[in-house]
Assembly symmetry: C2
């Protein structure tokens, strides 16, 4: 998606440790018009008529997911993150490793709101190692629901998380896949 | 807002400890159409033309805020929550007490994205003790920005947070103020 790539090049900051900061429009300050354009783009890649639920993980994926869900008149769920102890019942859960916080966190979704009848599109703002996405896929499976696909705004292709999901047969669409990032030189993967 | 009150009565669950669960439409599973109706309602109470930024705190306020911000073609910021140690520079911060997690958390907003020119509408899904709102007001003040008001979907009136903000002169509009809640009997404050 050219508009998104242009914004990453123009406003993104490359920090040491392969960190790409896009917090001026994607995951701290949110450009809601851009989120709506991203929603439209996802609409070209996924059959939104069959989707019954948008699923994401807190916190930074929620804004994009809410606008995507609203755009296509769908409900959404955000998985909550919790420490692994003291989890109450009635929840689907999946343990993931958070590279941001360097610890294990548990993704939680109430069994009340996700069922075997659901056709789920997972949406997230950013994918690196793909741990959050793997955890959300686990939860979709645990519910017996159908995974329609994963729509991701920005994927760090060089960290491999997206390619592992593709190899596992997941219909993953990332709108900007960054292959390498140095200050002043961000290289994107070619369109598929 | 009658539609919201009806949903609370119909779908809300009152749990011991004055907990009112509305996670089927407001803060876990999100009814995005209802969020848009809430946005319209806020538009009747605040002069959206003057608002330049929607501000909320992660995580459960993000979905509503994103849809409100998009509805009125505004950008939004969500304050991040962090432990108080190890905070990097360039941030507005405010310490609040989280009754949910029973510990102090710090709300953080990058100085890069909020300035003295901003006219800020704070949006949140739920207010009880009002600690998160107080922290967000601190951050607006620290930025030298103007607080237009606070729009809250559900306020637990009996916990006093909202009334403290009103007494301090804040233009706070809550669309459903719960005065008392027992299973099968939720009482709302009359409209102002």
């Amino acid at each position: 998606m050219q508009e998104l790539k242009d914004r990453i090049v123009k406003e993104g900051k490359v920090l040491p440790g392969n960190i790409i900061k896009v917090d001026g429009f994607l995951n701290h300050r949110i450009d809601t018009e851009l989120m709506d354009h991203i929603a439209e783009e996802f609409g070209k890649h996924f059959n939104m008529d069959e989707v019954t639920m948008i699923l994401t993980a807190e916190a930074s994926g929620i804004a994009l997911s809410a606008i995507v869900a609203h755009h296509f008149h769908k409900p959404m769920i955000f998985a909550k993150k919790a420490k692994s102890d003291n989890i109450e019942g009635g929840l689907y859960q999946s343990d993931i490793f958070s590279y941001t916080y360097k610890k294990k966190v548990t993704l939680l979704v109430s069994k009340e709101w996700l069922s075997a009848d659901d056709k789920v599109l997972i949406i997230d703002d950013f994918m690196a190692n793909g741990e959050a996405m793997r955890g959300l896929c686990d939860i979709v499976n645990a519910a017996g629901a159908t995974l329609v696909g994963i729509g991701c705004a920005v994927e760090k292709g060089f960290q491999g998380g997206g390619d592992r999901l593709r190899a596992a047969g997941v219909n993953l669409k990332s709108l900007a896949i960054i292959e390498s990032a140095e200050p002043g030189n961000i290289v994107f993967r070619g369109e598929d």
